[in-house]
Symmetry: none
Subunit: 205 residues, 4 copies
């Protein structure tokens, strides 16, 4: 790693910091991560961190963003119910198991104490997650599986809300029973009749 730079900021330092922050959250937990610890772990001077980030959460938002860069594309199964179910399975895996999910939970928690972080999360992080959550619904709408005037954001809240609630608040596992119920709830939104909402292929293609 080169020290000093006549031509702008050191990309090496930036990456070392983000990596160190991610690692430390995974290893010792958000609460015990300190800026000094990140600096030491990254082999970077504290001042370098303070020059480019305003707080440890600021670093973590960047780290989380970097992690999220590797976009996963939701496979198209051809039907709303199966698309949605696949997406929810992936969402649960992210929230409960993945390292970046741990960072997300820590940030969401910290946002309760830090309005500035809350603002930044809602401006930068959540829209990207929301966009992903909308994919199955938007696809369904384009297939005609949802009414044209359906309030997709409202539907998303109804579907992912209980999952976040369990993960962040109650700590209960997100069971298949819950996912089934949520998928069914969403699928009940039909273009017209209340007739046979559960026929997955009914309106497809």
């Amino acid at each position: 790693m080169h020290r000093g730079n006549r031509h702008g900021r050191s990309e090496a330092a930036r990456e070392a910091v983000l990596q160190a922050a991610d690692d430390l959250v995974a290893e010792i937990g958000y609460a015990r991560v300190t800026i000094e610890g990140i600096a030491a772990r990254a082999g970077v001077a504290k001042q370098t961190i303070y020059r480019w980030w305003r707080s440890k959460t600021d670093i973590l938002v960047d780290a989380f963003t970097a992690d999220s860069a590797q976009e996963l594309t939701l496979p198209d199964t051809g039907a709303f119910r199966t698309d949605l179910r696949a997406h929810l399975d992936e969402l649960v895996r992210f929230l409960e198991v993945s390292d970046s999910g741990a960072v997300f939970r820590a940030l969401a928690g910290q946002a309760q104490h830090d309005p500035e972080l809350a603002t930044r999360l809602r401006a930068e992080v959540l829209p990207r997650l929301r966009a992903r959550d909308r994919v199955p619904f938007d696809r369904a709408a384009s297939r005609g599986e949802l009414p044209a005037d359906a309030d997709v954001d409202l539907l998303v809240d109804q579907v992912v809300g209980p999952i976040h609630f369990r993960v962040l608040v109650t700590g209960e596992p997100v069971t298949p029973a819950l996912l089934d119920a949520l998928v069914t709830l969403a699928a009940r939104q039909q273009p017209e009749a209340s007739a046979r909402p559960e026929q997955p292929g009914g309106a497809a293609t």
Copy 2:
């Protein structure tokens, strides 16, 4: 055998600490509350706090519990939808507006970084909230407005999950439109009615 100080711990000190903690969270926010600040505000020695509580969150759990002691009884409107709607209005008021809601949000946030707090919350605090959330459903069940085999906890998660999600994660206001949708969703659980569209993979499992 000497049983130590016969008057035991000072109730006055205990109450002063809980009150000071509550006040400070409301005034300056959880993040800026310190044990030293609580001690100073309460007119109590730090050691007295450390003798009876293990951390500032430990104090806040006690303070929250004390605040919750004054149980509010949900008025019985005679019908499930109206009962539920009244309860949800009250829930939103608690989460978004009240002082003890601020404490709850802070604790829920901190629990993301502190497994011990998470455990304590789930053991002591959440069951009480859950009990309240179940009231409209249990009443409805006893009136016959819900099927006998309805999974009430699952229904509760579906109804209150989106509300917590908006309050804790997205920060969007909980709109009447959302509440309407949630009430309608719950009310669709009918004993007879339009058969069992929910059965195939639904909540019944």
Copy 3:
């Protein structure tokens, strides 16, 4: 072991405290002795200590006094030089080796920071030590080995001063060479002898 008594203090408690204080000074050193530690060691309540003593040094003065109660009589060897030398040997043993000497050194040290203790030491402890230091001189005077008008206290200061100086300040061992020199110095005070070389500005004033 409750010895509550309308008329008078518990002798058992008093002795336990003095013994505990002595032991603790010997075991862990004056600096690390605390009143709480003495109370615990003595099996006595703090309040009992505070009822009867004003500070830990107050306890130690009492403990030292109790230790000193067992008066040792200086054997009469029949001659000033041998009497004095025997006394100085004993003094050095007391200061350098004995447990009560350790207490004395601690008190003398603490008196540098505590005028009240200094006053008490000079009023109660030092006169007893001075009386002992005078014994060889007074005996010599009664034998006619010293001039009638000799200033015994001044001589005592000259003889024991260097010993205390080495023990308390320089930490150098008190050697036989020093003791020899001090005895010789004192013995030079002769009734007749080579007149009064000391007169010009000497001790006679």
Copy 4:
């Protein structure tokens, strides 16, 4: 006033601490001086003190050393007795009256409880004082007023020991009578005969 520096400590902070320590000992006495108080008085962070000193006595040794830097040269009166008497007058003034004498007494007292401090005093502070105390004797020896084989350190102990003893232990004032006796005692050490030891100019030049 931030003087942070990759290569070394802040001299300003060091001096402020030593000055504050000296002042506080003079103002409120050693016993009531605290590290927090020194930090506050010096306008310095506690951590800065703990970074460079291990205890309050460590600070005071440095402060005492700094005070002693301004060496006073003992004027040469041309004769042993007058040289010595002048030196002893100065020594008494230092021990009884001066601010740095107060620091010395406090350190000597504290050394009774703190072996580490005792070691440091004996290694760093006392040799310098001893060197001063030897000056009149060494001068006398070079003048031939003392035997070539005189044990100067032993003589020093005999002369300054009683003075320290009175100042540190008995608290009695150091009288001219004592000083006279001490000077006479020292002057009695003659090169050869026991003849006229008090003739100041006898062996001079």
